[in-house]
Amino acid sequence: AQSVTQLDSQVPVFEEAPVELRCNYSSSVSVYLFWYVQYPNQGLQLLLKYLSGSTLVKGINGFEAEFNKSQTSFHLRKPSVHISDTAEYFCAVTRGTGGFKTIFGAGTRLFVKA
């Protein structure tokens, strides 16, 4: 079975500062990894995903994430955040090829301050 741990429940950061949201996963088989964002009072939407290939994945809104198999991590980064990035961010994992269930982490609340 797969599991996901998001190491920070809240991350406050000033506007234009860099940010890293941490995600570790556990799985005995190959996995697909996702980051989703949830803005207030909305559903989740995909930021980026890793299926295979290059371990550095670029997503929307200037976000990127790096898949590190040896450390079983998939941390999300942005070099300079905006107020509009304030949202809940979810890391998710599913078993690659034949997986039926996506496991979501508990979420990290990113709060960008002016």
Partner: protein
């Protein structure tokens, strides 16, 4: 055009009542899901259908019953509502079971 839509957006009801939430997707996807998000934002899968067949049925009280009349629709019926059922319920769809999921806007259920 909304890709995944849910109705109603808000639902306020008394304990013991029965209610339904409807979901429709116009993306042509084969897989649909119901999730429950609690007040701490924790997202838990409840059910998943692939080509109208139930493929995931998590430990959910049998007061909750999903129904998929066709691939584009997945409805959730809840009997005998309890206070603990208060949450935001999200419908989602994906091309396949491990693909990117597209979420609806959510239905906020409040049980009084």
């Amino acid at each position: 055009d909304t890709a995944v839509s849910q109705t109603p957006k808000y639902l306020v009801t008394q304990m013991g009542n029965d209610k339904s939430i409807k979901c429709e997707q116009n993306l042509g996807h084969d897989t649909m899901y119901w999730y429950k998000q609690d007040s701490k934002k924790f997202l838990k899968i409840m059910f998943s259908y692939n080509n109208k067949e139930l493929i995931i049925n998590e430990t959910v009280p049998n007061r909750f019953s999903p129904k998929s009349p066709d691939k584009a629709h997945l409805n959730l019926h809840i009997n005998s509502l309890e206070l603990g059922d208060s949450a935001v319920y999200f419908c989602a769809s994906s091309q396949g079971p491990s693909d990117t999921q597209y979420f609806g806007p959510g239905t906020r259920l409040t049980v009084l």
